[in-house]
Amino acid sequence: MALFDKYAPLMGQFESLESTGYNPFNVSFDRVLSPTEGMIAGRRILLLGTNNYLGLTYDPDVIDAAVAATRNLGAGTTGSRVANGSYGGHRQLERHLADFYGRRHCMVFSTGYQANLGILSALAGKDDHLILDADSHASIYDGSRLGHAQVTRFRHNDPDDLDNRLRRLADTPGDKVIVVEGIYSMLGDTAPLREFVEVKRKWGAYLVVDEAHSLGVLGRTGRGLAEAAGVEDEVDFIVGTFSKSLGGIGGFCVSDMDGFDILRVASRPYMFTASLPPAVVAAVTEALNQLRHRPALRQQLMDNARRFHAGLGDLGFQVGPEASPVVSAIMPDPKTAFAFWTRLLEAGLYTNVSLPPATPKGLALLRSSVSAAHSRSQIDHALSLFADTGRELGLIPAEPAIPTWVKHPTANLAGTEPQDALAIGFRNQLLARLAAPSKAMAKYYSAFRRQSPGRARIVGDK
């Protein structure tokens, strides 16, 4: 056992989780039924932690494409593209992605993790500098370590700190490559990309944006944060993954830079690994097609994201700064995060626990990810389970906190004389949700009637 002695502290933690019977890092699904439901230990569970943003894993056309490719081309490629050759589908997927992004070049990798490994390790050489956002994903850190560049990090989402770091390097030879993400996977916040672009131009650096969690989510056509921020021309390399909005596995990088294809024989994580199997390539190609031609999916996703993010905030949970498909409730400590997660699972809701050092600022997070495939009632059901559990654990007030939307009363209903903003807010919220009443809203409603009997006059009320 001596070899594993160094893992003794980690092993202790893992075993204590195993002994509870509910280990969030060792969950096994008996079956997955749809993008939003699965079976765990014989019970039907609502899935709210699978990064399946557009819900395309069960799209019939995506599945048909995968089945046909397997029948026609076999189950696997059994080799790397460099040593054993590409299939037509690999090249076609690269062309489709380049076309989608309006770029000249694209390389596809076998996982999103490897895309960062392959791009970052190959872009920056021995005398170059990689400058990472401090909250970067592990694959960005690992890709930086795989190469030979000097690596420094700047404070998360802080253009001034990035500026400082580049100033310190101004007299040092070598290229400078900045790496940021579109949506950060732990708190769902986005990078201030326009400000970063200004700093990049000031110092003549290169910019890589990892759109893993923002592809298919942000931007007019779903290309990600760079599109949403209107700075695509200033982003030299976009990295992304197929395993979230595209429902498969794999990663990619697109660029307009001359000579980009030399990376195919310079990037070790591209060269020395087996290529994606035909089924995955075909499924992802079709999923990309769906992403491009069904903007309603993105709309549905963001509606769900806003509903869930606002819902948790209204209940009194501390959530990330902006509504995105990643919605994390900040827990006071890891123990509470485990307890919360376990109770939700027992109640039929699957979420994620995220702990330091994978999380920023040492936070313990109960992380959820919403999907376009979630129905409104599924989102509301999840909210009501969060409300029940949060109250049981004493994390949120027993009565509803004053919701954020109270600060923004809008409608002025005919025939009523609302006495204060609270009444307007409650009433507007009730009106907006009357079409789909939920357990959570019923509680709001009854609480409101108790507190303000004279003002609880809404449409349809007796």
Binding site: R145, Q150, V151, G362
Partner: protein, 83 residues
């Protein structure tokens, strides 16, 4: 601006105590991760305070080599005074 090892050491001590949010006995021999229980990201975060104060950037491979408070003082002094 040159900083003496003594100035850098007291800077490191202050930043560490702030990061730990508790009073601790510190010396050059204090092991930062094993002795103080900081994880790898917490170490990198607290190093940022030192970098700001000294206007230097300590590359991640140098941070990874740091085991003790003394190692960090030496690395910072090297980067600060090296030019």
């Amino acid at each position: 601006m040159q900083n003496s090892a003594e100035q850098i050491r007291s800077l490191v001590f202050d930043a560490l105590r702030a990061a730990l949010e508790r009073p601790v006995e510190l010396s050059d021999d204090t092991n930062i991760t094993e002795g103080l229980g900081l994880d790898s990201v917490a170490v990198m975060d607290f190093v940022m305070e030192i970098e700001d104060a000294l206007d230097i950037s300590i590359p991640l491979d140098r941070i990874a080599e740091v085991k003790t408070v003394g190692d960090l003082v030496a690395a910072a002094q090297d980067l600060k005074g090296g030019h």
